[in-house]
Symmetry: C2
Subunit: 316 residues, 2 copies
Amino acid sequence: MRMLGDPHGLRPPSGAPLYGGVEGGGTKFVCVMGRGPDEVVAESRIPTTTPQATLSGVVDFFRTESARVGTPAAIGVGSFGPVDLHEESPTWGYITTTPKPGWERTDVAGRLQRDLGVPVAFDTDVNAAAMGEARWGAARGLDSFVYLTVGTGIGGGGLLGGRPMHGLVHPEMGHLLLPRDPAADPFPGMCPFHGGCLEGLASGPAVLARWGQPAESLPEGHPAWPLEAHYLALAIVNFVCTLSPQRIILGGGVMEQGHLFPLIRREVVALLKGYVRAEEILYGIDSYIVPPGLGRRSGRLGAIAMAEQLERMTGR
Amino acid sequence: MRMLGDPHGLRPPSGAPLYGGVEGGGTKFVCVMGRGPDEVVAESRIPTTTPQATLSGVVDFFRTESARVGTPAAIGVGSFGPVDLHEESPTWGYITTTPKPGWERTDVAGRLQRDLGVPVAFDTDVNAAAMGEARWGAARGLDSFVYLTVGTGIGGGGLLGGRPMHGLVHPEMGHLLLPRDPAADPFPGMCPFHGGCLEGLASGPAVLARWGQPAESLPEGHPAWPLEAHYLALAIVNFVCTLSPQRIILGGGVMEQGHLFPLIRREVVALLKGYVRAEEILYGIDSYIVPPGLGRRSGRLGAIAMAEQLERMTGR
């Protein structure tokens, strides 16, 4: 239904407020304004250079677009990290100890809040993607699930009992320590901290270093794939034993090789050996381990979902 | 302060209600009535035989003690498992697929609720112990922590964002898959499902099988201890990476060897290699990995805490 006095259809039928979302990554910040997957009214990519230049670009985007389509009621930010998520901390909303040059101790949320004068929700990039999947994607209706991204790095987040996974800091699921068989895989791993942790063995750069070819150029029958599926399955088994999630969503560049999913599912069932007697795993593994429902857009749309939730909670 | 008309001091000064607690284990059910660690007014142990005999014993305990000290406002049960924790499930409050003969598909919570006519809270034995630690023990004031028990089996629970860890089923932290070095430890593990998972390598029976002596008889300098600390530290690192808990409490029979704590703490710091930059880990590991504040009583007191919380939530 189009409303009277809104001939261009910019105002939604419901008069629902508009939200901002920022997906802050190591190579680019994606900024959006909208209300959901079918209502993104503005989008822009800003290269990640210095904090000053990048965050000014983010502020400019929201100022320009606010003048065009209206002021967002709140903005959500999912950021690369590590980040400070403690609401009572003086450095809440900061990127903290990142090795990325120039970005250590960068105030992201506070800067946007001050410059734009709107409330800002802040979380890790993976928790933002998880929020997107919970709101509009493959985790709708679930209150406990894991979202794991497998790409340049490996990171995980999700909801537990309906709440984003925070804690002492936030999860660092890429650094899980896993069983290894040097005879089957002599590659020692390449994490600068832990060598052969999950990220050191199974990230995109690890695949490239082990096989001399990037994941996307390795053919489907290549031995890289059962090995990759094995490491991801070991990690998933540990998530199942630790968190008992209702579903596991695997996103990121490496997981765009869709043929990995059946290999991973088979290996998870084989490794669990029937111990966790949940129908979802024993008989429904195809819908237990799934790709993101929002494809590559989980993070930016999740940032919008975070803004929407913040606005609801603060009762505006 | 003693109240008028209460010459024996049985009624508390506050007039606070009385709660029941049941710690349901594989060898015995410990039943208590009280209000907290300093106010346990009745306690009894009932051997775990058949469900019929054991649960009748539990019902008799509460009937007898209710007549003596007063009816509990609610009863909490922490049970061995696997258990069904889904409140909307027709088998909520059941022990489900346990290998323990005769106990498969046993209705525990419903039976007590019907026979005693009081509300019953139900969770795993380890989540109950975690609740006790959160209410009166080593996790007071925390909303995200892990409680791991290392004894005949290995099990874990805890709070995340203030809520007990449930999910698809509930955590099975004993079955984590860990890195192993067969040259350093040729023992293959003894979990009937996974061989060398955490429980298969580091439970009390695994220590006995590997060294031919029970844990409590191995001297402090025995090589069993650094190996035990290594496996537990690997598991703790994975919990830190997955859950980011604010503290980790280690209980159970094996952990009564207090000299294990410094070994485990040192190994956790060594394995993390400075990656998780939390002051609590880098500078405060002695208060990050700790024994239970309630000693062996975490489970039964936690069951009382669950009853107390249920009564508050239902607004009686």
